[in-house]
Symmetry: C2
């Protein structure tokens, strides 16, 4: 089975960007995880680089992590950063050895100050790994599926904890503790929104325990990170009976989602690819046709090592959806000072159409 | 009391970078938190910007967070990103309104691709907020102190859980659950290292429950995030009796740390400032003088909204330590295939010298 590193090497050799590259410098932590399976770095600091030459690969990091890298990462030679052997000297030395003049860089990740330093020694060219990562290998799909299973278990668990007197923040913590106890991490800050707060798509949970009144909307949006891969799901349930207006909103969102997902099983199987914007439009137009405001965000996003990655399912997206892509479908209706409904599932695109990876129930739940 | 935003405005007006700035674009999530107190964004995605003009400030974000921003952030006017009102158009409109030609940017944070787009419309100049953030306000110091208190409580708790049969990973999870239950987050991935693994400064905890043998070193390095601010501490304890060699290593590290910390109370109080490299050298040279290898990392790092920020306490650091700075002092000795010892505390520099913010015991602990 082809690995991400082999996919990269193939892309580098077969389709070099204009002018060709002598080597590629990988700086994004997510791509370091992707190519090496090594998960030990923080995402908001620069602790490591990969240098991919045509005939050899290097893992450049410092003594804090080099021992673990040496013991766990295959296919890469370790080059250790130290006080008197800084990153720039190592890079220059390796570049000289491999005759690197034109260096591929990740312009979406490298900072301006890093770029200014590199530009003194190299001609740089942008190299984008989005397409590579958008199409998942079977191993990756399997990992995401397992992550989604824990997401479903978490939803099942948290339903029992929605009781009078509980605050949004308490439920969010319970979700995160449950995930931690199952040997996993959360993939993003958990959203729990009661009542009017559900009209804010990325609401930050509050400590106010009086918000859970009868007939309240309860919106839960959370994700699991397991073995380096993310899940993401949203369910909207009701505390007490849903009102007629709440039911109508819920049904509209669910029907919009079903329309989008079903599109893969009609249009996609014939043409074998489908535009991301077509899927977005199907759900968006349906919601508007029912008299509601348009979805104030994209219909969905690719997911994998990152919670949001390629492809994007939005009105202006130019992405084409293909077999092996994994993404969310998450229509929503948000009425200020009233509330919101969002339903989100993850989907993998297979030879024959779409397959759901999240399986929590979507019939109206009244607690 | 002066706020971070006021500190920034003063710096912008009093000491504009060469050529002057018409406005400043803040892209780093940590700086967004610093200037607005709004904690709701992921650190590895671009979900918001601040535009600081001379007479007005804007918070630019999309509908997922705009409601929360509108309700919670003072002193900033909201500018909402939407599918047909993308960030670039908003920025151009605001720039026209405020006659912005020279735009300050964070070159350490902005990506090359963002920079290339901005460069088409603006003359850019780097603006660095490191110095600003390095010196904490009393409000910030108070927050870090509270975070450290929970760190101490966590250490006290975890000591009781170090028992035969437990794995590094299990202890790491227990630490993280304890922190979560106390309404806080972890500030970085918890390090728990038994025996030989402690020789790797940033060891990734394993599931192997056989590693905790008698006379094992147990290294615990963890941090808490509370109210937007980080703590960081390391303790090394022994499972069973420490051997003579382990005791010697421990005493050397502790003495090195004490020497570094004491330096503030002798040299600093006279000169009122002290070089970061001088502090690093005091601990480093002491460890070497006892026949051990040099510390393979910096002696310490500033801490606040980020786990690692300015100042840096390293041999090559040019930083000057001043009143109000908060940083770690964390010497270590690491012997491959034997084990390592690291002791880390947080310190705040006051008028009269150094003050410890972490208070967990440092006498040898044998469990």
């Amino acid at each position: 089975m082809i690995t991400p590193l082999e996919k990269l090497q193939e892309k580098l050799l077969k389709n070099p960007p204009a002018g060709g590259l002598d080597a590629l410098l990988i700086s994004s932590v997510h791509n370091i995880i992707y190519f090496t399976n090594f998960p030990g770095f923080a995402t908001d600091e620069r602790e490591a680089f990969l240098l991919i030459c045509k005939d050899k690969q290097y893992f450049i990091t410092d003594a804090r992590s080099s021992g673990t890298v040496r013991n766990n990462v295959k296919d890469f030679e370790l080059a250790e950063i130290a006080a008197y052997s800084p990153f720039q000297s190592i890079l220059k030395k390796l570049a000289k050895k491999h005759k690197v003049k034109i260096l591929g860089i990740e312009e979406k990740n490298l900072t301006v100050s890093e770029f200014k330093t590199l530009s003194k020694s190299f001609t740089t060219k942008n190299f984008d790994t989005d397409d590579l990562r958008a199409v998942k290998t079977p191993v990756e799909i399997n990992k995401i599926e397992k992550t989604c299973q824990l997401g479903d278990k978490t939803f099942d668990y948290i339903l029992k904890k929605i009781k009078k007197g509980v605050s949004e923040k308490e439920l969010a913590i319970k979700i995160e503790l449950f995930i931690k106890k199952n040997n996993a991490d959360v993939s993003f800050a958990t959203i729990v929104a009661f009542g009017k707060n559900s009209a804010i798509p990325h609401h930050v949970p509050t400590h106010n325990s009086k918000l859970l009144a009868p007939n309240s909307i309860v919106l839960l949006d959370f994700g699991v990170k397991l073995d380096g891969y993310c899940s993401d799901m949203t369910r909207t349930v009701f505390f007490g009976k849903a009102t007629a207006e709440q039911r109508k909103m819920y049904k509209t969102v669910l029907d919009a989602q079903t329309r989008a997902i079903e599109l893969f099983n009609t249009k996609y199987s014939i043409h074998n690819t489908i535009k991301a914007s077509t899927i977005d439009k199907a759900a968006r137009d349906y919601i508007i046709s029912k008299g509601y405001p348009t979805i104030p965000h994209s219909l969905g996003h690719g997911i994998g090592i990152q919670i949001h990655e390629s492809p994007r399912l939005s009105p202006k997206s130019k992405d084409i959806l293909k077999e092996g892509m994994v993404f969310s479908i998450e229509p929503g209706i948000y009425i200020p000072d009233f509330g919101g409904v969002r339903i989100e599932d993850l989907v993998v695109l297979t030879k024959s159409g779409s397959k759901l990876l999240t399986h929590s129930p979507k019939t109206i739940i009244e607690l």
